[in-house]
Amino acid sequence: MDDPLIAETSDERALIARLQAGDKAACAECVELHAPGLYRLARRMMRDEAEAEDVVQETLLSAFKSIAHFEGRSGLRTWLYRIAYNAALMRLRRSRPDSVSVEGAGLDGDAGLPVPRQMFDWCCLPESDFDSREARDQLEAAVQALPEKLKVVFVLRELEGLSTEAAAEALGLSPEAVKTRLHRARLWLRERLAAYFTELAQPAAED
């Protein structure tokens, strides 16, 4: 697997050099390449599309302005996610200062992992029940509902495919904290999805 911590490809190095030289076409390429992923992160952190778009716009502007200082210690994508995460966090703190606080306490380490409660095996549902629009909406709503500090780790690691090290770099966490938060997020989502899929499966099971 490639290491996103390193500005790995010559394409990326060339793009960064062009951005640093103020090449307009390079900025457009960067938007084309990275805006969709930045939007997926922002949309999952913010309440609506407009706020998510603002975060992406702020991220790209801020990146283009500070690209001269980009050292290539992390990949460009990791660096952009870091800027986007911080931009989203600033906005969330401004709009609801109490809700994004130090809820991180106790999230790292295995102590006090929530005990699984949902014990129905819903894996046997037909594939069409997992593929449906309703199921996809449930999956998305569950991510939105994750506690903030688990959510961003889950989005970057599981949904955007960053490595543990790259996600740690983007979020200013230790790799160990990324691993335990990802695990907590998965367990949390399993509980939440089980509630939905069990209800789907049980009427059939009772017949």
């Binding site: 307009k24 699984p116 998965r186």
Partner: protein
Amino acid sequence: MEPHDCRHLLGDLSDYLDGQASAMLCAEIERHLEDCANCRVVIDTLRQTIRLYRDLPGPLLPPAARERLYHFPDSGQFLRP
């Protein structure tokens, strides 16, 4: 198996599912799974949860928003070529 084994193994399930658990830990988990129906359900539904998210397309950048990103009002130098 005693219930405390379930609690003990809970923290290692992601490593196990991601193929990052040591051979010794894998063997310990698999031994436990043979006797513990609840843990089998947890691990199967956890695996399924991970799979469902890997296949989820995710929110699409709306085309109008994408267009606007090329036309930031205060970024004359960053326009589409």
